[in-house]
C-alpha cells in the first residue's frame, strides 16, 4: 500500500461524502419543486434564481435555531440519536462502485472506496443499523408520540428487511457473488439484472421505500397522526440531521437499486464509447449515466410521495408479511428452478 493509494482513497472518500451531502441538500430543494409542480404551485423561488439557494438558507436557518433539549429526556441518548442516523446514512456509500476504473497514465483508479467481497451484506448491515437512530431518538425524547413512532419504525424496518433480503437472494442466485463491483461488471452493456429479476426488483423497491420511511410507508413520521413522529422533540440541527439522513438514505437506496438491478454505470453502447474516448474519459460518462439513473429514482421517490396516501400500520404489516415475503420466496424458488434447468440443458 503506497502513499498515493492512501491519498487517492482519501480524495475519493471526501468527494463521495461531499457529493452525497450535496445531492441530499438539493434533494430537499428538488422535493419542494417536484411537490410544487405536482400541486400546481411555484415552490421556493425567493433565494437566488429559481430559488436554488434555498437549501443553503434552510441549512443556515437550522443552525441558527435555538436548540431545545426536553428536561425529561435522556440527554446523552437524545444527542446520539440523530448522530447515529446521519452516520449510518453516510457510511453506506462506501461499497458502491460509482464508475468503471479510470486510467490516468499507467495508474488505474477505482471509483469505489472499497471492494469488500460481501458488499451486499455490508449495505444490509448498515441499513439495519439506521433504524437505531430513529429508535434511540424516539425513546430518548420521552414523548408518547415519539415512542409510538419509534415502535412503528422498528417493526416496519425489521419486517421489510426480511422481504428485502429475500428479494436479494434470488438476485444472488443469478450473480453468484456478493461483491457489488462484480455484480455491476456482470451487467455489462444492457444485461441489466432488472430484465432477469423484474419481480425481485419490484419487491426490493417497495422495501426500499419502507426502509427510507418514505411515503406511502412514512408511518414513523406521519405528521397528521404522530405530529413529527420520532423527531417531534428535536429542534435546530439535530432535527436537520434526521431530515438530512432521510434524504441521504434516499440517495443511497437509489444508488443501490441502480447498482443491483439497473446496471450501475453500464449503458448500451458503452464499448463503442470506451473504444473512441479511451479509458480516461469513458468511465466518466458511465458515472454520469449512473447518476442519471439515481436522479430518476429520486424523482420516482418524490413522485410517489406526492401522489398516493399512506398505509395504516396493520395494512403495512399485512403487505410486508403476507404479500412481499411469500412473493419473494416464490421468486427465489422460480429463479432457482429456472437456473437449474438452464444449467442442465
Amino acid at each position: 500500500m503506497d502513499a498515493a493509494f492512501v491519498i487517492e482513497k482519501f480524495i475519493l472518500v471526501a468527494v463521495i461524502f461531499g457529493v452525497s451531502l450535496l445531492i441530499a441538500m438539493y434533494s430537499t430543494y428538488a422535493e419542494r419543486k417536484v411537490a410544487a409542480f405536482l400541486q400546481d404551485r411555484l415552490g421556493p423561488d425567493r433565494a437566488g434564481p429559481f430559488g436554488i439557494l434555498q437549501p443553503l438558507a434552510d441549512g443556515v436557518k437550522m443552525f441558527m435555531k435555538e436548540e431545545i433539549v426536553p428536561a425529561t429526556s435522556n440527554r446523552w441518548l437524545f444527542m446520539v440519536g440523530p448522530g447515529l442516523a446521519m452516520l449510518t446514512a453516510c457510511i453506506a456509500s462506501a461499497v458502491i462502485p460509482w464508475g468503471s476504473p479510470i486510467a490516468i497514465g499507467d495508474r488505474v483508479i477505482s471509483l469505489q472506496v472499497t471492494d469488500i467481497n460481501v458488499g451486499v451484506l455490508y449495505i444490509f448491515g448498515v441499513v439495519s443499523l439506521g433504524v437505531y437512530g430513529v429508535m434511540i431518538g424516539g425513546w430518548a425524547s420521552n414523548n408518547k408520540y415519539s415512542l409510538l413512532s419509534a415502535i412503528r419504525a422498528a417493526s416496519q424496518n425489521i419486517s421489510y428487511e426480511i422481504a428485502m433480503g429475500l428479494s436479494i437472494i434470488a438476485l444472488l442466485l443469478l450473480t453468484n457473488t456478493l461483491s457489488l463491483k462484480e455484480i455491476v461488471a456482470q451487467q455489462h452493456g444492457w444485461h441489466w439484472n432488472v430484465l432477469y429479476q423484474p419481480v425481485g426488483f419490484l419487491i426490493f423497491m417497495v422495501c426500499a421505500f419502507a426502509e427510507t420511511n418514505r411515503a406511502p410507508f412514512d408511518l414513523p413520521e406521519c405528521e397528521t397522526e404522530l405530529i413529527g413522529g420520532y423527531h417531534t422533540e428535536y429542534s435546530s440541527m439535530k432535527l436537520g440531521f434526521y431530515l438530512f439522513a432521510e434524504y441521504i438514505n434516499m440517495f443511497i437506496s437509489s444508488a443501490v437499486m441502480a447498482t443491483l438491478y439497473w446496471g450501475g454505470y453500464n449503458y448500451p453502447g458503452m464499448d463503442y464509447v470506451a473504444a473512441t474516448l479511451g479509458t480516461t474519459w469513458a468511465p466518466l460518462i458511465g458515472t454520469a449515466v449512473f447518476f442519471l439513473k439515481i436522479f430518476a429514482f429520486i424523482f420516482f421517490f418524490m413522485w410517489v410521495r406526492w401522489t398516493i396516501p399512506r398505509f395504516r400500520y396493520d395494512q403495512l404489516m399485512n403487505l410486508g408479511w403476507k404479500g412481499l415475503i411469500p412473493l419473494a420466496i416464490a421468486n427465489i424458488i422460480v429463479t432457482g428452478v429456472v437456473i437449474a434447468i438452464v444449467e442442465k440443458f
Partner: protein
C-alpha cells in the same frame, strides 16, 4: 393522585398500568381546530376516550341577547367559518321569517348561488383534508386553490373572504357586479375538471379505499339516535336534506339530487360530499339561468323599515335617515314570536331558534350547530379503533372548532 376531576382517564398514574394515556389535542396537527381528546391506548388501539370541548367557546348565544338583529350576523360568521355565507343567510332568513318578509325571486337565486358556493368551499376543505390526513397532501393543495377562487367571488360580492358577513336582513347590501358574475361563470367552467381529477386521484385509489372503506361504519339507526344531519347522515343512507324537506330560498324550484351512501363509513362520507359538490355546481348553473330571466337590479326586498337604506339616502332623505336610525338602534317593530329556521349547512342542519319578546334584542337565540351534535359520537365511536382510523374519522366528520364551541 387526582390531576383533573374532569378527565377520568388522566387520574390514573399507576406506573404498572399497561395502557397509555395520550392527549390528542388541543394543538395536535390532526385536530383541525382547538379541541382535545384524551385517549387511552393499548398499543395503537384506542380503549376509551374522552372529548373535551369549549376551548374557543365565546358565548355567542349570550352575546346575541344583547345585540339588535343585524349585529348578530357577524357572530354567525364565526360558527362554521369554512362556510360562513350559509350561516349568514340562515340568520337573515330566520329574521325574515319572524318579520314575515317575502323576498323577490332574484334575491333568492342570488342567495342560492352564494350558499352553494360556500357549500363547495366547505366540502373542498373536508374532503381534501381526508386526503391530507391519509397522507395524500397533493389532493389537498391541488383542489384548495378553487376554494381561493370561491373566496375571490365572495370578495367581489361583499368585500370579505373568510368571515363574510354577506347580505342584510331583507336581501343583499348591493347587487352582484359584472365581475362577480364573470368569476362565477369562470369557476363553473374550471372547477369540474379539477374535481374530476381529484376524484380520479382518490376514488379508485387502492390505498385510499383500504384506509377509508369500512372504517368508522355507522348505521342509519345510530346516526339518527345521535341526531346526525348533513353529509354524515346521508352517508348512512338516510335521504334527509333540509333543502328538500323544508325548502327555503326557492330551493323547491331547482332540479338537484340528494346523494346517499349505504354504510356510513368514511369512504361513503367522502363520496357523498364529492357528489354534493357536483350537485352544487348544477344548482349554481340553474340559478344563473334563472337570474337571467328575472328583472335586473333587484337585490333586496322592499321593506324600508327593516332593510338598512343606502348611505347616500341616509344623508339626503329624511325618511331614510329615520329608518336608518331606528334600525341601527334596534327599534324595529318585530312581532313577539318564536321562530325556528334551519338551513342545510356544510355539516348538516344549521338551525336558528329565535324567541323575540318585542324588545331591541332577541330574548333568546339558540344555534343548532351540526358540528356540536355530530361530534358527540366521536369518543364512543373511537373505542376499539386504531389511532390512524380515529384521526381520519375526525377529519371526515368535518368538525369545525368555531361551530363546535360557538
Amino acid at each position: 393522585m387526582n390531576i383533573n376531576q374532569n378527565h377520568p382517564l388522566l387520574t390514573d398514574n399507576d406506573p404498572q398500568e399497561e395502557l397509555v394515556t395520550l392527549n390528542l389535542g388541543p394543538t395536535h396537527p390532526a385536530t383541525h381546530g382547538v379541541f382535545q381528546n384524551v385517549l387511552q391506548l393499548d398499543g395503537e388501539r384506542i380503549v376509551s376516550g374522552v372529548s373535551t370541548i369549549g376551548y374557543i367557546h365565546r358565548a355567542f348565544e349570550k352575546i346575541a341577547e344583547h345585540r339588535p338583529f343585524y349585529q348578530i350576523t357577524p357572530l354567525t360568521d364565526r360558527l362554521n367559518y369554512c362556510s360562513s355565507p350559509i350561516n349568514n343567510m340562515g340568520w337573515h332568513m330566520t329574521v325574515e321569517k319572524l318579520l314575515n318578509i317575502k323576498l323577490p325571486k332574484r334575491v333568492d337565486y342570488l342567495r342560492v348561488i352564494v350558499m352553494e358556493l360556500s357549500r363547495i368551499a366547505d366540502h373542498i376543505i373536508c374532503n381534501t383534508i381526508i386526503g391530507q390526513d391519509t397522507g395524500a397532501t397533493t389532493t389537498f393543495l391541488y383542489l384548495f386553490q378553487f376554494r381561493e377562487h370561491i373566496y375571490e367571488i365572495f370578495e367581489e360580492v361583499c368585500g370579505a373572504r373568510l368571515t363574510t358577513n354577506i347580505g342584510r336582513i331583507g336581501g343583499f347590501e348591493r347587487d352582484f357586479n359584472a365581475i362577480a358574475f364573470a368569476k362565477i361563470r369562470k369557476f363553473l367552467k374550471e372547477f369540474p375538471d379539477a374535481l374530476r381529477e381529484f376524484e380520479k386521484l382518490l376514488n379508485r385509489n387502492r390505498i385510499f379505499i383500504d384506509r377509508t372503506a369500512g372504517v368508522a361504519r355507522v348505521s342509519a339507526e345510530q346516526a339518527l339516535d345521535y341526531s346526525w344531519t348533513g353529509p354524515l347522515l346521508r352517508a348512512t343512507g338516510v335521504d334527509y336534506d333540509v333543502r328538500v324537506s323544508e325548502p327555503y330560498s326557492s330551493y323547491e324550484e331547482f332540479d338537484f339530487e340528494v346523494p346517499v351512501g349505504t354504510s356510513g363509513d368514511i369512504y361513503d362520507r367522502f363520496l357523498v360530499r364529492n357528489e354534493e359538490m357536483w350537485q352544487s355546481v348544477r344548482l349554481i348553473t340553474q340559478a344563473l339561468d334563472k337570474i337571467e330571466k328575472e328583472p335586473k337590479g333587484i337585490f333586496h326586498a322592499d321593506v324600508p323599515e327593516f332593510y338598512l337604506p343606502a348611505k347616500e339616502e341616509v344623508y339626503n332623505n329624511m325618511e331614510a335617515l329615520i329608518y336608518h336610525f331606528k334600525i341601527v338602534m334596534g327599534e324595529i317593530d318585530a312581532p313577539r314570536a318564536e321562530v325556528y329556521h334551519a338551513v342545510e349547512g356544510g355539516n348538516g342542519e344549521l338551525g336558528f331558534y329565535l324567541i323575540n319578546d318585542g324588545g331591541r334584542t332577541p330574548y333568546r337565540l339558540h344555534f343548532r350547530r351540526p358540528s356540536f351534535i355530530n361530534y358527540q359520537m366521536f369518543a364512543p365511536m373511537s373505542k376499539g379503533m386504531l389511532l390512524s382510523d380515529a384521526i381520519i374519522n375526525m377529519s371526515s366528520m368535518n368538525i369545525i372548532a368555531g361551530e363546535l364551541d360557538a
